[in-house]
Protein backbone atom coordinates (compact mmCIF):
# COMPACT_ATOMS: atom_id res chain seq x y z
CA UNK A 1 0.00 0.00 0.00
CA UNK A 2 1.36 3.44 -0.89
CA UNK A 3 1.02 6.29 1.59
CA UNK A 4 -0.23 9.76 0.78
CA UNK A 5 0.13 12.03 3.78
CA UNK A 6 -1.46 15.45 4.23
CA UNK A 7 -0.18 17.77 6.97
CA UNK A 8 -2.82 20.21 8.20
CA UNK A 9 -6.62 19.77 8.20
CA UNK A 10 -7.52 23.40 7.58
CA UNK A 11 -9.11 24.73 4.40
CA UNK A 12 -6.48 23.48 1.92
CA UNK A 13 -5.71 20.12 3.60
CA UNK A 14 -9.37 19.21 4.02
CA UNK A 15 -10.12 20.05 0.38
CA UNK A 16 -7.20 17.87 -0.77
CA UNK A 17 -8.39 14.93 1.34
CA UNK A 18 -11.82 15.23 -0.26
CA UNK A 19 -10.53 15.59 -3.82
CA UNK A 20 -8.03 12.75 -3.57
CA UNK A 21 -10.20 10.17 -1.89
CA UNK A 22 -12.46 10.38 -4.95
CA UNK A 23 -9.57 10.16 -7.40
CA UNK A 24 -7.05 7.70 -5.97
CA UNK A 25 -7.38 3.93 -6.24
CA UNK A 26 -8.22 2.76 -2.71
CA UNK A 27 -6.58 -0.61 -3.28
CA UNK A 28 -3.30 1.12 -4.02
CA UNK A 29 -3.25 4.26 -1.90
CA UNK A 30 -3.90 4.99 1.73
CA UNK A 31 -4.59 8.65 2.58
CA UNK A 32 -3.82 10.05 6.04
CA UNK A 33 -4.20 13.59 7.34
CA UNK A 34 -2.52 14.96 10.47
CA UNK A 35 -3.58 17.94 12.56
CA UNK A 36 -3.07 18.57 16.26
CA UNK A 37 -6.38 20.45 16.57
CA UNK A 38 -9.91 19.08 16.79
CA UNK A 39 -11.75 22.18 15.58
CA UNK A 40 -12.02 23.60 12.09
CA UNK A 41 -12.55 27.37 12.05
CA UNK A 42 -14.13 29.34 9.22
CA UNK A 43 -11.39 31.96 9.31
CA UNK A 44 -13.18 34.65 7.23
CA UNK A 45 -15.66 34.70 10.13
CA UNK A 46 -13.02 36.22 12.43
CA UNK A 47 -13.65 39.53 10.63
CA UNK A 48 -17.33 39.54 11.64
CA UNK A 49 -16.95 38.28 15.20
CA UNK A 50 -15.72 41.59 16.72
CA UNK A 51 -18.79 43.43 15.37
CA UNK A 52 -21.31 40.89 16.68
CA UNK A 53 -22.32 40.01 13.10
CA UNK A 54 -21.40 36.33 13.53
CA UNK A 55 -21.51 34.28 16.72
CA UNK A 56 -18.72 31.86 17.67
CA UNK A 57 -20.99 28.85 16.93
CA UNK A 58 -21.32 29.92 13.30
CA UNK A 59 -17.61 29.70 12.62
CA UNK A 60 -16.42 26.65 14.59
CA UNK A 61 -17.07 23.02 13.62
CA UNK A 62 -15.30 19.71 14.17
CA UNK A 63 -12.46 18.70 11.81
CA UNK A 64 -13.63 15.07 11.72
CA UNK A 65 -16.99 16.07 10.24
CA UNK A 66 -15.24 17.16 7.02
CA UNK A 67 -12.76 14.32 6.54
CA UNK A 68 -13.99 11.35 4.46
CA UNK A 69 -14.35 8.20 6.57
CA UNK A 70 -11.83 6.20 4.54
CA UNK A 71 -9.16 8.86 5.16
CA UNK A 72 -7.18 8.25 8.35
CA UNK A 73 -7.40 11.34 10.60
CA UNK A 74 -4.48 11.53 13.06
CA UNK A 75 -4.89 14.09 15.85
CA UNK A 76 -1.30 14.60 16.92
CA UNK A 77 1.43 17.24 16.92
CA UNK A 78 4.05 17.03 14.17
CA UNK A 79 7.67 17.30 15.27
CA UNK A 80 9.58 17.13 12.01
CA UNK A 81 9.51 16.42 8.28
CA UNK A 82 12.52 14.47 7.03
CA UNK A 83 12.41 15.09 3.29
CA UNK A 84 15.45 12.94 2.49
CA UNK A 85 14.05 9.89 4.27
CA UNK A 86 10.39 10.65 3.25
CA UNK A 87 9.27 10.37 6.86
CA UNK A 88 7.19 12.60 9.13
CA UNK A 89 7.93 12.36 12.84
CA UNK A 90 5.08 12.89 15.30
CA UNK A 91 5.36 14.24 18.84
CA UNK A 92 4.10 10.91 20.25
CA UNK A 93 7.18 9.18 18.83
CA UNK A 94 5.46 7.58 15.82
CA UNK A 95 7.04 7.83 12.38
CA UNK A 96 4.87 8.11 9.29
CA UNK A 97 6.60 7.08 6.08
CA UNK A 98 5.17 8.65 2.92
CA UNK A 99 5.37 8.16 -0.82
CA UNK A 100 3.76 11.53 -1.40
CA UNK A 101 3.42 14.42 1.03
CA UNK A 102 1.15 17.48 0.87
CA UNK A 103 2.06 20.34 3.19
CA UNK A 104 -1.02 22.41 4.11
CA UNK A 105 0.01 23.81 7.47
CA UNK A 106 -1.09 27.38 6.76
CA UNK A 107 0.23 30.57 8.29
CA UNK A 108 -0.27 32.15 11.68
CA UNK A 109 0.39 35.40 13.44
CA UNK A 110 3.72 36.03 15.16
CA UNK A 111 3.19 39.08 17.42
CA UNK A 112 6.49 38.31 19.16
CA UNK A 113 8.28 39.55 16.02
CA UNK A 114 7.45 43.18 16.89
CA UNK A 115 8.96 44.80 19.95
CA UNK A 116 6.32 45.67 22.52
CA UNK A 117 3.41 43.98 20.75
CA UNK A 118 2.97 41.38 23.49
CA UNK A 119 3.51 44.03 26.19
CA UNK A 120 1.25 45.32 28.98
CA UNK A 121 -1.44 46.48 26.58
CA UNK A 122 -1.86 43.20 24.66
CA UNK A 123 -5.59 42.38 24.70
CA UNK A 124 -6.20 45.50 26.80
CA UNK A 125 -5.85 48.14 24.10
CA UNK A 126 -3.79 46.18 21.53
CA UNK A 127 -5.72 43.43 19.71
CA UNK A 128 -5.48 41.11 16.75
CA UNK A 129 -8.45 39.63 14.89
CA UNK A 130 -6.56 36.87 13.06
CA UNK A 131 -7.16 34.37 15.86
CA UNK A 132 -10.43 33.21 17.38
CA UNK A 133 -9.30 34.34 20.85
CA UNK A 134 -8.17 37.73 19.54
CA UNK A 135 -11.40 38.38 17.63
CA UNK A 136 -13.49 37.40 20.65
CA UNK A 137 -11.47 39.58 23.06
CA UNK A 138 -11.83 42.47 20.60
CA UNK A 139 -15.60 41.93 20.42
CA UNK A 140 -15.83 42.27 24.19
CA UNK A 141 -13.66 45.39 24.11
CA UNK A 142 -15.71 47.03 21.33
CA UNK A 143 -18.97 46.38 23.18
CA UNK A 144 -17.91 48.69 25.98
CA UNK A 145 -15.42 51.04 24.27
CA UNK A 146 -16.36 54.70 24.57
CA UNK A 147 -14.35 56.06 21.67
CA UNK A 148 -11.06 57.78 20.88
CA UNK A 149 -8.33 56.97 18.34
CA UNK A 150 -8.88 53.63 16.63
CA UNK A 151 -5.78 52.59 14.68
CA UNK A 152 -5.97 49.66 12.26
CA UNK A 153 -2.48 48.48 11.42
CA UNK A 154 -0.61 46.00 9.21
CA UNK A 155 2.86 45.03 10.46
CA UNK A 156 4.43 43.66 7.28
CA UNK A 157 3.49 41.78 4.11
CA UNK A 158 2.63 39.08 3.24
CA UNK A 159 -0.47 38.60 5.38
CA UNK A 160 -3.37 36.21 5.18
CA UNK A 161 -6.31 37.81 3.33
CA UNK A 162 -4.66 41.16 2.53
CA UNK A 163 -8.03 42.92 2.23
CA UNK A 164 -9.22 41.92 5.73
CA UNK A 165 -7.75 44.95 7.55
CA UNK A 166 -9.45 47.27 5.06
CA UNK A 167 -12.73 45.46 5.58
CA UNK A 168 -12.20 45.84 9.31
CA UNK A 169 -11.85 49.61 8.84
CA UNK A 170 -15.05 49.81 6.75
CA UNK A 171 -17.02 47.65 9.17
CA UNK A 172 -15.74 49.68 12.14
CA UNK A 173 -17.01 52.87 10.47
CA UNK A 174 -20.46 51.28 10.01
CA UNK A 175 -20.44 49.76 13.53
CA UNK A 176 -19.79 53.09 15.25
CA UNK A 177 -22.35 54.85 13.05
CA UNK A 178 -24.93 52.27 14.11
CA UNK A 179 -23.99 52.86 17.74
CA UNK A 180 -24.48 56.62 17.20
CA UNK A 181 -20.87 57.31 18.25
CA UNK A 182 -18.95 57.71 14.98
CA UNK A 183 -18.24 61.35 15.98
CA UNK A 184 -16.37 60.06 19.05
CA UNK A 185 -14.05 57.82 17.00
CA UNK A 186 -11.11 58.77 14.78
CA UNK A 187 -10.15 55.91 12.47
CA UNK A 188 -6.63 55.71 11.00
CA UNK A 189 -5.44 52.98 8.65
CA UNK A 190 -1.67 52.36 8.94
CA UNK A 191 0.07 50.25 6.30
CA UNK A 192 3.64 49.36 5.24
CA UNK A 193 2.46 49.62 1.61
CA UNK A 194 2.52 52.87 -0.37
CA UNK A 195 -1.28 52.91 -0.55
CA UNK A 196 -4.44 51.09 0.50
CA UNK A 197 -3.69 47.95 -1.52
CA UNK A 198 -0.97 46.32 -3.57
CA UNK A 199 -2.41 46.88 -7.05
CA UNK A 200 -2.94 50.35 -8.62
CA UNK A 201 -6.58 50.20 -9.83
CA UNK A 202 -8.00 48.63 -6.68
CA UNK A 203 -5.86 50.99 -4.56
CA UNK A 204 -7.53 53.97 -6.24
CA UNK A 205 -11.03 52.54 -5.68
CA UNK A 206 -10.31 51.61 -2.07
CA UNK A 207 -8.67 54.93 -1.20
CA UNK A 208 -11.77 56.66 -2.52
CA UNK A 209 -13.87 54.57 -0.12
CA UNK A 210 -11.55 55.32 2.80
CA UNK A 211 -11.88 59.06 2.14
CA UNK A 212 -15.66 58.79 1.77
CA UNK A 213 -15.85 57.07 5.17
CA UNK A 214 -13.55 59.62 6.78
CA UNK A 215 -10.79 57.10 7.49
CA UNK A 216 -7.29 58.59 7.47
CA UNK A 217 -4.47 56.63 5.84
CA UNK A 218 -0.82 56.54 6.96
CA UNK A 219 1.23 54.67 4.34
CA UNK A 220 4.87 53.49 4.08
CA UNK A 221 4.87 52.84 7.82
CA UNK A 222 7.43 50.18 8.83
CA UNK A 223 6.78 49.54 12.51
CA UNK A 224 9.77 49.40 14.84
CA UNK A 225 7.91 49.08 18.13
CA UNK A 226 4.74 49.56 20.13
CA UNK A 227 5.26 51.95 23.02
CA UNK A 228 2.87 50.53 25.63
CA UNK A 229 3.31 53.37 28.10
CA UNK A 230 2.47 56.28 25.81
CA UNK A 231 0.23 54.11 23.56
CA UNK A 232 1.99 54.88 20.31
CA UNK A 233 3.24 52.87 17.37
CA UNK A 234 6.63 54.07 16.19
CA UNK A 235 8.17 53.46 12.77
CA UNK A 236 11.86 53.03 11.93
CA UNK A 237 11.92 56.43 10.31
CA UNK A 238 10.66 58.06 13.54
CA UNK A 239 6.98 58.54 12.56
CA UNK A 240 4.53 58.01 15.44
CA UNK A 241 0.80 57.27 15.56
CA UNK A 242 -1.08 57.49 18.89
CA UNK A 243 -3.87 55.06 19.67
CA UNK A 244 -6.50 54.42 22.28
CA UNK A 245 -7.38 51.16 20.58
CA UNK A 246 -4.93 49.42 18.27
CA UNK A 247 -6.15 46.62 16.01
CA UNK A 248 -3.03 45.16 14.46
CA UNK A 249 -2.28 42.42 11.98
CA UNK A 250 0.99 41.02 13.33
CA UNK A 251 3.71 39.50 11.13
CA UNK A 252 2.37 36.32 9.49
CA UNK A 253 4.63 33.27 9.42
CA UNK A 254 4.40 29.72 8.20
CA UNK A 255 4.38 26.90 10.75
CA UNK A 256 7.45 26.59 12.99
CA UNK A 257 7.58 22.97 11.77
CA UNK A 258 9.25 24.30 8.61
CA UNK A 259 12.06 25.84 10.63
CA UNK A 260 12.57 22.56 12.55
CA UNK A 261 12.62 20.69 9.24
CA UNK A 262 14.79 23.24 7.35
CA UNK A 263 12.06 23.49 4.73
CA UNK A 264 11.04 27.16 5.01
CA UNK A 265 12.28 30.61 4.00
CA UNK A 266 12.97 33.36 6.56
CA UNK A 267 9.22 33.55 7.34
CA UNK A 268 8.80 29.73 7.40
CA UNK A 269 6.96 29.68 4.08
CA UNK A 270 7.91 26.72 1.87
CA UNK A 271 9.66 27.51 -1.43
CA UNK A 272 7.19 26.18 -4.00
CA UNK A 273 6.93 26.16 -7.78
CA UNK A 274 4.24 28.78 -8.34
CA UNK A 275 2.70 26.91 -11.29
CA UNK A 276 2.93 23.20 -10.41
CA UNK A 277 2.81 23.62 -6.57
CA UNK A 278 5.64 21.12 -6.19
CA UNK A 279 8.17 21.86 -3.45
CA UNK A 280 11.43 23.20 -4.84
CA UNK A 281 13.46 20.82 -2.66
CA UNK A 282 11.73 17.42 -2.96
CA UNK A 283 9.87 15.99 -5.95
CA UNK A 284 7.47 13.96 -3.78
CA UNK A 285 6.47 16.93 -1.60
CA UNK A 286 3.73 19.33 -2.72
CA UNK A 287 2.59 22.49 -0.96
CA UNK A 288 -0.77 24.26 -0.98
CA UNK A 289 -2.54 27.27 0.52
CA UNK A 290 -1.01 29.73 2.97
CA UNK A 291 2.00 27.48 3.62
CA UNK A 292 3.61 28.22 0.22
CA UNK A 293 5.80 31.16 -0.73
CA UNK A 294 4.04 31.67 -4.09
CA UNK A 295 3.26 35.33 -4.88
CA UNK A 296 -0.53 34.88 -4.66
CA UNK A 297 -2.89 36.05 -1.92
CA UNK A 298 -3.03 33.92 1.18
CA UNK A 299 -6.76 33.26 1.00
CA UNK A 300 -9.30 30.47 0.99
CA UNK A 301 -10.29 31.15 -2.61
CA UNK A 302 -6.66 30.73 -3.68
CA UNK A 303 -6.42 27.42 -1.77
CA UNK A 304 -9.65 26.31 -3.48
CA UNK A 305 -8.32 27.05 -6.98
CA UNK A 306 -4.94 25.55 -6.11
CA UNK A 307 -6.63 22.36 -4.88
CA UNK A 308 -8.11 21.70 -8.31
CA UNK A 309 -4.73 22.25 -9.99
CA UNK A 310 -2.82 20.23 -7.39
CA UNK A 311 -5.21 17.28 -7.65
CA UNK A 312 -4.47 17.09 -11.38
CA UNK A 313 -0.73 17.35 -10.84
CA UNK A 314 -0.70 14.68 -8.16
CA UNK A 315 -2.44 12.31 -10.56
CA UNK A 316 0.16 13.22 -13.20
CA UNK A 317 2.96 12.63 -10.71
CA UNK A 318 1.64 9.20 -9.76
CA UNK A 319 1.47 8.21 -13.44
CA UNK A 320 4.96 9.65 -13.91
CA UNK A 321 3.67 12.21 -16.40
CA UNK A 322 4.82 15.85 -16.67
CA UNK A 323 3.07 18.14 -14.15
CA UNK A 324 1.05 19.91 -16.82
CA UNK A 325 -1.60 21.65 -14.70
CA UNK A 326 -0.49 25.22 -14.08
CA UNK A 327 -1.78 27.55 -11.38
CA UNK A 328 -2.13 31.17 -12.54
CA UNK A 329 -2.39 32.83 -9.11
CA UNK A 330 -6.17 33.23 -9.33
CA UNK A 331 -7.78 34.94 -6.30
CA UNK A 332 -11.39 35.98 -5.87
CA UNK A 333 -12.23 38.11 -2.84
CA UNK A 334 -15.28 39.88 -1.54
CA UNK A 335 -14.44 43.10 0.28
CA UNK A 336 -17.09 43.98 2.84
CA UNK A 337 -17.56 47.76 2.87
CA UNK A 338 -20.24 48.10 5.56
CA UNK A 339 -23.97 48.93 5.53
CA UNK A 340 -24.87 45.80 3.60
CA UNK A 341 -22.56 46.38 0.67
CA UNK A 342 -19.41 44.76 -0.66
CA UNK A 343 -16.90 44.93 -3.50
CA UNK A 344 -15.68 41.93 -5.44
CA UNK A 345 -12.18 41.57 -6.88
CA UNK A 346 -10.87 38.84 -9.19
CA UNK A 347 -7.20 38.69 -10.19
CA UNK A 348 -4.11 36.51 -10.73
CA UNK A 349 -0.29 36.64 -10.98
CA UNK A 350 -0.37 38.82 -14.09
CA UNK A 351 -3.75 40.60 -14.12
CA UNK A 352 -4.57 43.15 -11.43
CA UNK A 353 -8.18 43.57 -10.22
CA UNK A 354 -10.22 45.76 -12.58
CA UNK A 355 -13.88 46.63 -12.99
CA UNK A 356 -16.32 44.56 -15.03
CA UNK A 357 -18.98 41.91 -14.53
CA UNK A 358 -18.62 38.45 -12.94
CA UNK A 359 -18.85 35.48 -13.47
CA UNK A 360 -20.66 36.00 -16.81
CA UNK A 361 -19.14 38.57 -19.19
CA UNK A 362 -21.60 41.37 -19.90
CA UNK A 363 -24.19 39.88 -17.51
CA UNK A 364 -22.79 39.61 -13.99
CA UNK A 365 -24.71 39.52 -11.71
CA UNK A 366 -21.71 40.45 -9.56
CA UNK A 367 -19.97 43.75 -10.25
CA UNK A 368 -16.20 43.85 -9.99
CA UNK A 369 -14.50 46.65 -8.05
CA UNK A 370 -17.80 48.44 -7.33
CA UNK A 371 -19.86 48.48 -4.15
CA UNK A 372 -23.14 46.60 -4.39
CA UNK A 373 -25.67 44.74 -2.25
CA UNK A 374 -25.40 41.70 -4.51
CA UNK A 375 -21.72 41.38 -3.62
CA UNK A 376 -22.56 41.56 0.09
CA UNK A 377 -25.09 38.73 -0.27
CA UNK A 378 -22.39 36.82 -2.12
CA UNK A 379 -20.05 37.28 0.82
CA UNK A 380 -22.63 36.10 3.36
CA UNK A 381 -23.66 33.16 1.16
CA UNK A 382 -20.03 32.20 1.06
CA UNK A 383 -20.09 30.83 4.62
CA UNK A 384 -22.66 28.24 3.53
CA UNK A 385 -20.70 27.50 0.35
CA UNK A 386 -17.55 27.05 2.44
CA UNK A 387 -18.97 24.45 4.85
CA UNK A 388 -21.14 22.66 2.31
CA UNK A 389 -19.24 22.79 -0.97
CA UNK A 390 -15.70 24.12 -0.77
CA UNK A 391 -14.32 21.85 1.95
CA UNK A 392 -15.90 18.86 0.27
CA UNK A 393 -14.07 19.66 -2.94
CA UNK A 394 -17.19 20.59 -4.91
CA UNK A 395 -16.50 23.27 -7.55
CA UNK A 396 -18.34 26.57 -7.33
CA UNK A 397 -20.56 26.75 -10.44
CA UNK A 398 -19.14 28.99 -13.22
CA UNK A 399 -16.00 29.94 -11.27
CA UNK A 400 -12.96 28.32 -12.87
CA UNK A 401 -9.62 27.49 -11.25
CA UNK A 402 -7.74 29.68 -13.71
CA UNK A 403 -8.97 33.26 -14.11
CA UNK A 404 -11.17 34.37 -17.02
CA UNK A 405 -10.38 37.70 -18.67
CA UNK A 406 -13.74 38.05 -20.47
CA UNK A 407 -16.09 40.70 -19.04
CA UNK A 408 -13.24 42.68 -17.50
CA UNK A 409 -12.10 46.18 -18.41
CA UNK A 410 -8.32 46.00 -18.57
Amino acid sequence: MKQLLILGAGTAGTMMANHLHHKLDKKEWKISIVDERKEHHYQPGYLFLPFDIYTPEQIVKQIEDFIPTDVDLITEQISKIDGNASVVKLANGNDLAFDLLIIATGSKIAPEETEGMLGEEWQKSVFDFYTFEGALALRNKLREWEGGNLVIHITEMPIKCPVAPLEFAFLADAYFKDKQMRDKVNITYVTPLSGAFTKPKSTAALEHLLAEKNIAIESDFAIAEIDNESKKIVDYGGKEVSFDLLVTVPTNKGDALMERSSLGDDLNFVPTNKETLQSKDFANIFVIGDATNVPASKAGSVAHFEAEILTENILHYIKQEPLSASFDGHANCFIETGKGKALLIDFNYTHEPVDGLFPFAGVGPMQLLKESRMNHWGKLAFRWIYWNMLLKGISIPFVTANMKTAGKNF
Partner: protein, 102 residues
Protein backbone atom coordinates in the same frame (compact mmCIF):
# COMPACT_ATOMS: atom_id res chain seq x y z
CA UNK B 1 10.68 56.77 -21.47
CA UNK B 2 14.22 57.99 -22.01
CA UNK B 3 16.26 60.01 -19.56
CA UNK B 4 19.68 61.63 -19.95
CA UNK B 5 21.84 61.13 -16.89
CA UNK B 6 25.60 61.09 -16.27
CA UNK B 7 26.06 61.57 -20.02
CA UNK B 8 24.06 58.45 -20.92
CA UNK B 9 20.54 57.79 -22.13
CA UNK B 10 18.69 55.32 -19.92
CA UNK B 11 15.17 53.82 -20.00
CA UNK B 12 13.01 54.64 -16.99
CA UNK B 13 9.33 54.14 -16.10
CA UNK B 14 6.92 56.91 -15.07
CA UNK B 15 8.12 56.70 -11.47
CA UNK B 16 11.76 57.05 -12.48
CA UNK B 17 12.81 53.43 -11.97
CA UNK B 18 15.25 52.04 -14.53
CA UNK B 19 13.66 49.39 -16.72
CA UNK B 20 16.89 47.93 -18.10
CA UNK B 21 19.40 47.06 -15.38
CA UNK B 22 22.15 46.43 -17.94
CA UNK B 23 22.26 50.21 -18.57
CA UNK B 24 23.17 50.93 -14.94
CA UNK B 25 26.68 51.96 -13.91
CA UNK B 26 28.18 53.59 -10.83
CA UNK B 27 28.10 57.10 -12.33
CA UNK B 28 24.36 56.72 -12.95
CA UNK B 29 23.95 55.45 -9.36
CA UNK B 30 25.75 58.58 -8.09
CA UNK B 31 23.45 60.87 -10.08
CA UNK B 32 20.25 59.03 -9.08
CA UNK B 33 21.39 59.33 -5.45
CA UNK B 34 21.87 63.09 -5.83
CA UNK B 35 18.36 63.42 -7.26
CA UNK B 36 17.16 61.78 -4.03
CA UNK B 37 19.34 64.03 -1.86
CA UNK B 38 21.66 61.25 -0.78
CA UNK B 39 25.45 61.41 -0.59
CA UNK B 40 26.67 57.85 -1.15
CA UNK B 41 29.14 56.43 1.39
CA UNK B 42 30.99 53.11 1.36
CA UNK B 43 28.17 51.59 3.41
CA UNK B 44 25.60 52.74 0.83
CA UNK B 45 27.59 51.05 -1.92
CA UNK B 46 27.92 47.85 0.05
CA UNK B 47 24.14 47.75 0.45
CA UNK B 48 23.50 48.63 -3.21
CA UNK B 49 25.74 45.73 -4.16
CA UNK B 50 23.73 43.41 -1.88
CA UNK B 51 20.42 44.64 -3.34
CA UNK B 52 21.64 44.10 -6.90
CA UNK B 53 22.85 40.60 -6.08
CA UNK B 54 19.46 39.70 -4.62
CA UNK B 55 17.78 41.11 -7.72
CA UNK B 56 20.00 39.02 -9.99
CA UNK B 57 19.14 35.95 -7.90
CA UNK B 58 15.41 36.80 -8.40
CA UNK B 59 14.95 36.89 -4.66
CA UNK B 60 12.20 39.33 -3.61
CA UNK B 61 13.39 42.24 -1.45
CA UNK B 62 11.70 43.35 1.74
CA UNK B 63 12.73 45.60 4.60
CA UNK B 64 12.85 42.49 6.83
CA UNK B 65 15.28 40.86 4.44
CA UNK B 66 17.56 43.92 4.36
CA UNK B 67 17.54 43.84 8.18
CA UNK B 68 18.83 40.26 8.06
CA UNK B 69 21.29 40.91 5.21
CA UNK B 70 24.31 41.15 7.49
CA UNK B 71 25.14 44.49 5.82
CA UNK B 72 22.89 46.74 7.95
CA UNK B 73 20.07 46.35 10.44
CA UNK B 74 16.76 48.10 9.78
CA UNK B 75 17.65 51.17 11.88
CA UNK B 76 20.90 51.63 9.94
CA UNK B 77 19.01 51.12 6.68
CA UNK B 78 16.72 54.05 7.61
CA UNK B 79 19.77 56.12 8.56
CA UNK B 80 21.25 55.54 5.09
CA UNK B 81 18.01 56.14 3.17
CA UNK B 82 15.75 58.16 5.49
CA UNK B 83 12.71 58.53 3.19
CA UNK B 84 11.07 55.32 1.91
CA UNK B 85 14.36 53.40 2.21
CA UNK B 86 13.53 50.35 0.10
CA UNK B 87 11.98 52.43 -2.67
CA UNK B 88 14.88 54.88 -2.73
CA UNK B 89 17.61 52.24 -2.48
CA UNK B 90 16.19 50.15 -5.32
CA UNK B 91 15.78 53.23 -7.50
CA UNK B 92 19.44 54.14 -7.03
CA UNK B 93 20.49 50.51 -7.57
CA UNK B 94 18.78 50.60 -10.99
CA UNK B 95 16.32 47.77 -10.31
CA UNK B 96 12.49 47.73 -10.34
CA UNK B 97 10.51 48.97 -7.36
CA UNK B 98 9.81 45.95 -5.13
CA UNK B 99 6.20 44.88 -5.54
CA UNK B 100 4.56 44.72 -2.13
CA UNK B 101 3.74 41.04 -1.82
CA UNK B 102 0.03 40.38 -2.19
Amino acid sequence: MEKLIAGKNIQVNEEGYMTDFSQWDKAIGEELAKENNIELTAKHWELIQYIQNEFKAESPLTIRKIGKSGVVDIKEFYALFPVGPLKTATKIAGIPKPAGCI
